[in-house]
C-alpha cells in the first residue's frame, strides 16, 4: 500500500465492452500511474461511462478492468481502490460536513478518535477548517466540492475520478479548485482521471489527454502535444481549432 501511494497505480481497460440502450462502447486504454489524465469528448461520447466502468458503477459485458495490475472487474464499487467526485450530489444534504467526510472512513459513521482527527485534518487541508458542523446547504457550490475532496483525502484510495466536478463554478473559482486538485494529487501521488469539456482545464493541470469519440478512445497523448496546432485531427475538429480560416469565413455576416 505504501509503495503504491508513492508511485501511484495504473488504470487499465482491456477491451471493455458496454452498451446502454442503443449506444455501444469499447474501451481499450491505459492511464498512467500517478499522473493526471484529462478525458475529453463531446456530450454522449462515453466519458462518464468510462469513469463509471472504472469506479464499478457499471459492469462491462466483456473485457477486464485492472487497477494497479489487479483485476477489479468483479469487485463492487465500494471495494475498488477508487474515489469519484461527481458534478453534483456528492453530499448528503441532511448530514453535516463532518459526517459527510466521516462516511469516507466508516459507512456506518462509527468514527474512532483517530478517524475524527483525519476528518479534521482533511477539512483543514481543503480550506474548510471550522465548517465541519455546517450543513451542505449553508455552503457555496465551491465549498461543497471541497467537502467532496476532503472525503477523497480521508478515503486514501490511490485512484481519483473527477466527473466534471467544477463545471458549474465560475472561471476563477474553477482555477482555484483545479490547483487544489493538482496539489492533492502531487502529495498523494494519485492517479487522476478527469472528465472536462474545457481545454483550458486540461491545459492547466493534465499531464495526458484521452479523447473519446463514438464510444471508443479516438486519440491520446501528452497534454503538450495535444493542444498544439499539430495535435490530433479528431481533437481539433472537436475543439474548433481546426482550420481557423474556414470558421472565420462562416462567421462573416451574410
Amino acid at each position: 500500500m505504501n509503495d503504491r501511494t508513492q508511485n501511484g497505480v495504473s488504470v487499465r481497460l482491456e477491451n471493455v465492452a458496454f452498451s446502454y440502450g442503443e449506444a455501444r462502447f469499447v474501451f481499450d486504454a491505459e492511464f498512467r500511474a500517478g499522473a493526471i489524465t484529462a478525458v475529453m469528448g463531446a456530450s454522449g461520447s462515453g466519458k462518464s461511462t468510462l469513469l463509471n466502468l472504472v469506479a464499478g458503477f457499471e459492469s462491462p459485458q466483456a473485457g477486464r478492468v485492472r487497477i494497479g495490475g489487479e483485476d477489479v472487474t468483479a469487485l463492487p464499487a465500494s471495494m475498488r481502490p477508487v474515489s469519484m467526485v461527481f458534478q453534483e450530489n456528492n453530499l448528503f444534504a441532511h448530514l453535516s460536513v463532518e459526517a459527510n467526510v466521516g462516511l469516507g472512513r466508516s459507512p456506518s459513521l462509527r468514527l474512532a478518535a483517530q478517524d475524527r482527527e483525519r476528518v479534521e485534518a482533511a477539512l483543514a487541508r481543503t480550506g474548510l477548517a471550522g465548517k465541519g458542523k455546517r450543513l451542505p446547504r449553508e455552503l457555496s457550490g465551491g465549498e461543497r466540492q471541497r467537502v467532496a475532496l476532503a472525503r477523497v483525502l480521508v478515503r486514501e484510495r490511490p485512484v481519483l475520478l473527477l466527473d466534471e466536478p467544477f463545471a458549474s463554478l465560475g472561471p476563477a473559482l474553477r482555477d482555484d479548485m483545479l490547483d487544489l486538485v493538482a496539489r492533492l494529487q502531487a502529495e498523494r501521488c494519485m492517479t487522476v482521471l478527469f472528465v472536462t469539456h474545457q481545454p483550458d482545464d486540461a491545459r492547466r493541470i493534465a499531464d495526458h489527454v484521452v479523447f473519446i469519440e463514438g464510444g471508443k478512445v479516438a486519440a491520446s497523448g501528452a497534454a503538450a502535444g495535444f493542444f498544439a496546432d499539430d495535435g490530433p485531427d479528431v481533437f481539433r475538429r472537436y475543439a474548433g481549432t481546426n482550420g481557423r480560416e474556414s470558421r472565420h469565413v462562416a462567421r462573416k455576416p451574410t
Binding site: Y20, G21, A55, G56, F57, E58, S59, T73, A74, L75, P76, A77, S78, M79, V82, S83, M84, F86, N89, N90, F92, A93, H94, L95, L103, G104, P107, S108, L109
Partner: protein, 541 residues
C-alpha cells in the same frame, strides 16, 4: 444500478414480498369466489335474474346522474372562482372544498340526514315548501345529494387547477384584444376545461360506481341498491353465496370496464388538486352582471357544501357527548378503530415503500431497455384495489373463511389488510417522488462509500423519507379509520369499529348517539388529513 459482485438488491425482495401480500389478498378472494361459483354453478347462473340486472342498472344510473350533477355545476363554479382571483374568503372556500374528501362517507351520510332527513334541521321549512310533511330524503335523491357533496367540490378544484394552467400571457392578450366574458370563455377557458373534463368526469363516475357506505345508509331499500350493497346484503342478511358470487363478478366486470376507460382517458384516479391558494394575476375584469351571477353561484355552492358540515357539528353537539365518551361500547370501538387504523396505516406505508423501492431498483437496473412484467407489476400493484374494490375482496374471503371456523374472529386481520391495500394508491403517490429523487441523488454515492443495508436506511434514507412516509401514514390512517367496507361484512358484537358502531346506532334509531359519534370521527379524520397535507407541503419547501 448493476454493481458487480454486489449482493442481490434487498429492495427487489421487498417489492416481491409486497406484491405477494397483495396477490394473496386479491387472489385469495377471487379463488374463494371461483370455488363458490363452481360449487354451485347453477345457483350462480340463476342468480343472474331480473333483480340483479335492476341493481346493475341502478348502479350505473345513480353514478351517471351523480356525475352529471357534480361535474356540470363544477364547470361553472370553477370558472366563477377563476374569474375572481381575489376576494375575501376565497382561500377559505377553496380549503373548505377540500374537506369533503377527508370526511368518512358515513359521517357525511349522517350530516345529510341531519340536515334533510325527516327530522332534520330543514324538515319544517321543506315541509312548508312542499305543502305537507317532509318525507325525508332517502333513496336516489339522498344518494345524489351525498355524492354531489363529495364530488362537486372535488371536480371544481380539479377544473380550477386546469384553468390555472392557462398561461397569463393568454389573459393579457385577451384583455388587449378586448375579449368579453363570452369570447373569453369560448376561446380560453373552455379549451382548458374540455381537456380536463373526461378525466374529472371519469374519476367522479368511478367513485360513485364503487360507492358503498352512502348507498347503504341513504339508499333505504332494495329499490335503491347498488352492486356493492347487494353483495353485502346477500352475505350478511340473505346468506345467498351464489347470488354474492354473481354480483361480485358483475361488479368486477364493471370496474374493469370503467378503469380501462379511465386509463384510456388518462384520468388521475387518485383525484388530488394541487391548488395554489394565490392564483396567477388575471387581466380580465368581470362586468357587473357577471359578477352578480358568479357571486350567486359561489354562495349557492358554499351553502351546499357547508350545509351538511354544519349539520354534522350541530347535531353532534346536541348529543350527550359526555355520556357517549363514557360508554364502554364506544370506548371499545374507538380503541379497536385506532389500533386497526394504526396497523393498517403501518402496513400500507411499508407496502408502498417496498413497491416504490423495488420499482426504482428495477428501473435503474434496466438501463433504458424494455420493462419486464415484474416491473409493470411493481408499478401498478398499488392500483389493484381500484379494479377489485374492498367489498369484493371482503366478500371473497368471507366465502372462503366461513368454511374454517369463526368468521368474525378474523375480522381485525381482514379489516387491517384490506384497508392497508385500499390506501396504497395514495400512499405510493406520497412516497414515490421523494424516494425517486433521493435515490437519484444518493445511489452512486452510497455504492462508492459502501453505505448499504441497515446503515443506508438509518443514515441516508430515513431522514429523507420520514416526512413523506408520515404523510402516507396519516392519510392511510384517516382512510382506514373512517372506512365502513370490510367491517360491514366482518363486524360483530365482539369486533366493532367506530363506523360500524355508528351504523348500528343509526339502524336502531339512536340518531343522537350516531350524530355524536359522527362528529368525533369526522374531526379525527379531518385532523389526520390536515396533518398529512401539512407534512407533505413542508417537505416541498
Amino acid at each position: 444500478m448493476t454493481r458487480p459482485g454486489a449482493p442481490a438488491d434487498i429492495r427487489i425482495f421487498a417489492g416481491l414480498a409486497a406484491l405477494a401480500f397483495i396477490a394473496v389478498l386479491v387472489c385469495g378472494a377471487l379463488a374463494g369466489l371461483a370455488v363458490e361459483g363452481a360449487g354451485d354453478l347453477s345457483g350462480a347462473l340463476s342468480a343472474f335474474d331480473p333483480y340483479l340486472l335492476r341493481v346493475a342498472r341502478f348502479t350505473l344510473w345513480q353514478a351517471a346522474l351523480s356525475t352529471l350533477l357534480s361535474v356540470l355545476p363544477a364547470l361553472f363554479l370553477a370558472r366563477a372562482l377563476s374569474r375572481h382571483p381575489v376576494f375575501p374568503g376565497r382561500g377559505f372556500i377553496l380549503q373548505l372544498f377540500a374537506v369533503p374528501l377527508a370526511l368518512p362517507a358515513i359521517v357525511v351520510a349522517l350530516g345529510v340526514l341531519a340536515l334533510l332527513g325527516r327530522a332534520g334541521f330543514m324538515a319544517d321549512a321543506l315541509g312548508k315548501l312542499a305543502g305537507g310533511t317532509w318525507p325525508g330524503i332517502y333513496g336516489l335523491s339522498g344518494i345524489l345529494v351525498a355524492h354531489v357533496f363529495f364530488n362537486l367540490p372535488l371536480a371544481a378544484r380539479l377544473f380550477l387547477e386546469a384553468l390555472q394552467t392557462v398561461p397569463s400571457d393568454q389573459w393579457r392578450l385577451a384583455s388587449q384584444l378586448g375579449m368579453g366574458a363570452r369570447a373569453g370563455f369560448r376561446l380560453i377557458e373552455w379549451p382548458a376545461l374540455r381537456q380536463a373534463l373526461p378525466g374529472v368526469a371519469g374519476l367522479v363516475f368511478m367513485l360513485c360506481v364503487t360507492s358503498f357506505t352512502i348507498v347503504l345508509t341513504l339508499g333505504g331499500g332494495p329499490a335503491a341498491s347498488t352492486l356493492e350493497v347487494a353483495i353485502y346484503q346477500a352475505l350478511r342478511f340473505d346468506f345467498d353465496p351464489a347470488r354474492a358470487v354473481a354480483l361480485t363478478l358483475l361488479q368486477i366486470g364493471l370496474t374493469v370496464l370503467v378503469v380501462s376507460v379511465l386509463a384510456w382517458l388518462g384520468a388521475n384516479t387518485s383525484g388530488d388538486a394541487n391548488l395554489q391558494v394565490a392564483p396567477p394575476r388575471r387581466y380580465l375584469a368581470a362586468g357587473g352582471a357577471e359578477t352578480a351571477i358568479n357571486a350567486g353561484l359561489i354562495v349557492l355552492a358554499l351553502a351546499f357544501v357547508a350545509g351538511p358540515m354544519v349539520a354534522i357539528v350541530a347535531a353532534g353537539l346536541q348529543a350527550d357527548l359526555g355520556r357517549l365518551a363514557g360508554e364502554a361500547a364506544v370506548q371499545r370501538a374507538a380503541a379497536t378503530s385506532i389500533v386497526l387504523a394504526f396497523v393498517s396505516a403501518f402496513i400500507s406505508a411499508l407496502l408502498s415503500l417496498a413497491l416504490v423501492a423495488a420499482r426504482r431498483a428495477l428501473s435503474s437496473r434496466r438501463r433504458g431497455g424494455r420493462k419486464r412484467l415484474f416491473e409493470h407489476a411493481v408499478e401498478t400493484g398499488a392500483g389493484f384495489v381500484l379494479v377489485v374494490p374492498p367489498i369484493v375482496i371482503g366478500a371473497g374471503w368471507f366465502l372462503v373463511l366461513r368454511h374454517f371456523g369463526d368468521l368474525f374472529a378474523v375480522a381485525p386481520a381482514m379489516v387491517a389488510a384490506v384497508n392497508a391495500v385500499m390506501a396504497m394508491p395514495f400512499a405510493v403517490r406520497a412516497v414515490r417522488p421523494a424516494y425517486d429523487a433521493a435515490s437519484e441523488r444518493h445511489d452512486l454515492l452510497c455504492a462508492q462509500l459502501g453505505v448499504s443495508g441497515w446503515n443506508r436506511f438509518t443514515l441516508i434514507d430515513w431522514p429523507v423519507l420520514r416526512r413523506p412516509l408520515a404523510t402516507a401514514f396519516a392519510f392511510a390512517m384517516a382512510l382506514s379509520l373512517g372506512d365502513l367496507g370490510v367491517i360491514a361484512l366482518f363486524g360483530s358484537d365482539s369486533v366493532q369499529t367506530l363506523p360500524y358502531l355508528l351504523l348500528a346506532r343509526m339502524g336502531s334509531y339512536r340518531t343522537q348517539d350516531a350524530a355524536g359519534l359522527a362528529l368525533l370521527l369526522g374531526l379525527v379524520c379531518l385532523a389526520l388529513v390536515l396533518a398529512a397535507d401539512r407534512l407533505g407541503r413542508e417537505r416541498r419547501t
